[in-house]
Every structure is written in C-alpha cells, then in structure tokens.
Symmetry: C2
Subunit: 317 residues, 2 copies
C-alpha cells in the first residue's frame, strides 16, 4: 500500500469543490486530504443529512445546499452527483465559475454528459470529462475511503480543443489520488463501459428481479441457497438506483448495442442446452476461464479464491 503513505504532495489547487458528496465525493475528499492536494474543500449536497454528515466527518471545510455557492473561487470543480443532474448544475454554476477553473465529473457516461454540461460553461473554464472506474455497492458520505481509487483506472475524455496545461493538471490530480489515468474518445468510453459495467449491472438487476418474481420458488429459498452463485449478483444489484437509472437513460445506444449481442449469445446457449450440445458449452466455459487470470494479473482483482470471502484469508466471520 505505498499509495496510502501520508507523504504530502504540494497543493495542486487552492480550492476544490465537490458537487455531490456520496461514495465518490467522500472518497475524493479522503484522497485529497491524504496527500494534501488542496487546502480547502467545499461541497454541496441537496440533503441536509448529507451536509451534516460531511461536516461531522470533516469531509468538507464548507458546505452548501446549492452548487453555485460551493463553486465560488474554486480552481477545480468535480461533479459527483448522478449524471441526470448535470445539465441543471452546469446551468447553475456556469455564471459563477472562476476564470481558468477546471470542471470535471465522475459520471459513468461521457457523450451525454458533454452534451448536457458543455453548452452552459463560460469560455474561460476548462471542461474535461472524467470517469474513475471504482466504486462499490454502498452509497453515501459515510462509505468513502481514501484508497478507493488506488490502482484503479480513471478515464478522461478530452478533445483536441482541451487546454494541455489544464489536462496535465487534472491527470496529475487523479494520479495523486492513487489512480492510473487513460485518455479516450468519449464515444469509445461509452461503448467500453457498456461492456465492462453497464450491461453487467443491468443483468444483475434483472436476475435478481426474475428470481424474486418466481411463484414456484419462495424468496426465502432464494436467500437460503444463494451461495450457489446468485448472491454475487445481488452485490451489484444493491447499487444506487438513481445513479444507475441515469446511466441507462444516458447511454442508451451503446447499452442497447451490447445488450443485443448479449441476448443473441444467450439464445445460442439456450439452444445448445435444449439440443444437448455439450461441446459448445464446454468450449465457451473453457474460453471464459482465462479472462479472470488476466484481470488478476493486471492488478484489477484479488487473487484470493471467492474474493477472499471464505477459506484462508476469509473476511466473512
């Protein structure tokens, strides 16, 4: 955990504004404090409870019920609320943004966000969309922790009009938060994330719904025997409903494209089961084994069996 050392870097920004203080916003606060990346963190949250918690935990130095107030004099503004809120927030903060301020976000879709945010920002602001590939099934300001971004990828989607100095500063910021940074075209980002994140969430939500609706199997049976595989899906299907509704509404084309392929492939598996084509099943099941090894080798997954839930190194009792 070299990244967790409290070796302070010099401040990169005088004031960072976190618009929305949930899992990502609160984790960013911890990561900023860990390295001293900004002396002042301001925040905004619509819920009084969130504002109270953020202050109690020291996540913010000042907190407001509106984004514009939090953005006053901020050098870096990070939109950390569900992407469906971004258009209204951009409209609200546009007039108060400091000249030269960097505006970024952490949303799981990028093309729709660019369309929603860019039109409202003043010419002197640098808008660089972003997306840290990190999170968990828990939400809220109390769930954040400084290590969330360590060794995770953060994708930024600048264009050829993006100011190089602002980009370089934002890349450095994310690296100091523990992440590795990749640059990508926004449209390609949306397709990649449809595969690695959005469709997995959709089918997890779907299987949990299907299981709940079966008349012949009780919910208590589903719960009792979930260790057979089902419970893994319930983790993802416990993710924040508002955030995920907004993701699907805002990445429609890429999600529908990948979903079409998923359903086609599933129909072929269904046919193989119906007609007893064991070779087709065996071939797929063998091919899919390697990809986990690659993910572990890339440092994106624990090598411990069963996520370390049981057995040596277990965490569940």
């Amino acid at each position: 955990m070299a990244k967790a050392d409290a070796d302070a870097a010099s401040p990169l920004f005088d004031k960072v504004a976190l618009i929305g203080i949930g899992l990502i916003g609160s984790s960013l606060s911890h990561a900023i404090r860990r390295k001293g990346l900004a002396p002042t963190i301001s925040g905004s949250a619509r819920s009084a409870e969130t504002r109270e918690t953020a202050q109690r935990l020291g996540l913010v130095d000042e907190v407001f019920d509106n984004a514009a107030a939090a953005c006053q004099d901020a050098d870096l503004v990070v939109l950390c609320s569900p992407v469906g809120t971004f258009a209204a927030i951009a409209q609200e903060i546009g007039p108060v943004l400091k000249n030269g301020a960097i505006i970024t976000d952490v949303g799981s879709v990028k093309t729709a966000v660019i369309n929603d945010v860019a039109p409202y920002l003043p010419a002197g602001a640098h808008f660089i969309p972003g997306h840290p590939i990190a999170g968990s099934e828990v939400s809220g300001p109390e769930s954040g922790f400084a290590e969330l971004f360590d060794d995770r990828w953060c994708i930024l989607t600048p264009t050829d009009k993006t100011d190089p100095e602002a980009l370089s500063k934002l890349v450095h910021f994310w690296e100091q938060c523990g992440a590795r940074v990749d640059l990508m075209d926004a449209t390609h980002h949306d397709l990649v994330l449809a595969v690695t994140s959005h469709i997995p969430h959709l089918i997890a939500y779907n299987i949990v719904g299907t299981a709940s609706d079966l008349e012949a199997v009780t919910e208590s049976e589903v719960v009792k025997y979930s260790a057979g595989g089902f419970r893994d899906f319930t983790r993802i299907a416990a993710s924040d409903p508002t955030m995920w509704r907004d993701v699907f509404l805002n990445n429609r084309d890429a999600v529908l494209e990948v979903l079409g392929r998923f359903s086609e492939d599933l129909a072929a598996l269904q046919r193989a089961i119906r007609w007893g084509d064991g070779d087709m099943l065996f071939d797929l099941f063998t091919r899919t084994r390697d990809i986990r090894r690659n993910i572990i080798d890339a440092g994106q997954e624990t090598p411990v069996p069963d996520f370390g839930r049981r057995g040596p190194g277990k965490v569940d009792d």
Copy 2:
C-alpha cells in the same frame, strides 16, 4: 468460528469413500478429519496427478484409479465427480457395495442423478441424493479447506422409501461437517438451484463470452476497466467447465424454464431503456436492493462492502 474447533465427535462411519477428489471431495476430507468423523478415508480419481496430490496432502488413507476399489467395505460413499460421470460409476460400484452402505452425492442436479444412479444400486444400499450449496471458482484437490461447508446449506432429497436411520445418519454427518441440512423434493431442488445457481452461472459465462467477442472493444480494455462490475462475473465464469457442462445438460427443463423468464424480463428492461422509462428502471433497481440485505442477515454473505476486497478489512493487497 465455533465450527472450526477441533472438538472431535465420535466416528460416524468406519470408512468413507470419496469418488472424485476435487474442491468438494478434498474439502470433505478436511471436514471429516477436523471432527474425526471416520478413521479411514478412501478415494478414487482418474488422474494420476490428483491421486498423488491427495496422498501427499493426506486427504486419503488409500487411493485408487477406479471407484469400485475405493468403495470396498465403505459405510459411506460420496460421489464428488461431475454428474455426467455418475451413471458409469454407479454401474461400476453397484456389485461391490457393502450391505447397508449409504450412497450419496454432491451434484448440483438431483432428478437426473436419481435416474442415472438408482437403477444400478443393490437393494441393501441406501441411496440418498445430496447437494451442499458451497463451492468456489477454484478446482482440484489442493483447493479444499475444512470450513467450506460451515453455515452453508446442504440439501438432501430423500423419498418416502428412504430408510429413516440412514437418513438421520447422513444428516448428522453433514451437520458435523459444518452444514445446515434441508430436505427437499428432487424436482423442486432442481428448480430452486436453476434460479440460485445455474442461471447465474450461465449468464456469467455468457457475458464474459460476449465481451471477448466485441470487435470494437479490445480484450485489454475489458481487462483494464473490469472493476466497473464485469470482474465480478469473471469469478463465476472461471468455474470448472466439465462440472458446469454436465449441470446444464442434466437440468435442461428447469434451466430452460428460468432462462425463458430471465430473457422476458430482460426484454422488458431493454424496452424501458429504449423508450426512456426511468420509473420502471428505478422501481426495479430499488426492489433488488433489499434481497442482498436479507442474504447478509441470513448469514449467507459477508456484510463487508465489495466482498471485503477493498477498503477497511480489504483482502486484495
């Protein structure tokens, strides 16, 4: 971990035969040794490497390349190989089974297993099909551990012809291995497990296959950005290919039934995304959240966010 205490129970059987020594067979050996449930464990495995490993690790007191030899004089025979092998094994061991011996199995399907095994067993043997709901993505004799069954459910599917004394003895055996035991009708078992285990595995295998086949997204991108949700599915999709091929071929009707419902529900979600029906998405995503809480409350899942992979109590670095 009260179950892990080495408080020996008196032996329940003089000799237990484990037919197949993979994750489940080796874990059973550890669980039997932990409580002294049988002075002698014999085993059989088709692969010389598995037999060598089983002996080296002390999993078995004697090991053979054929099931019949391992079953000589055994009081309890546990079939721990893929269910597609059971018919041939039953045919082989039928003539050598000790009078009064209990024969059980750990297969994920029960109706097909009963059809495959029962016809070959002599009248003096007690056949009681079984299924411990426990496992992981790793396979082989080195992956087993004594705690695998602790607080997991083991389903037995006796009929009204099953000898009550033999049943009681097998229930006690599984309880001493750490499991909680439920009795169930074989057909109902196959439907419940289609929901809680077989369909989750099928769609995990399928999404990993779909992701690998996308021309516009490279496998290296899938690997890098897998922390968005995809990597969870790769754990299940790394499960043993032979075991899972046999499960799908042998639980065809229940799998096709649940898969049909899953696909119907997914089509409805697809339509909601296409037409921007945010309320429908939000309602489902809210409803699915509760079931994870129930699974955690039932002791079938770790309460730690992200399976404990990251954050406080993390296991991945």
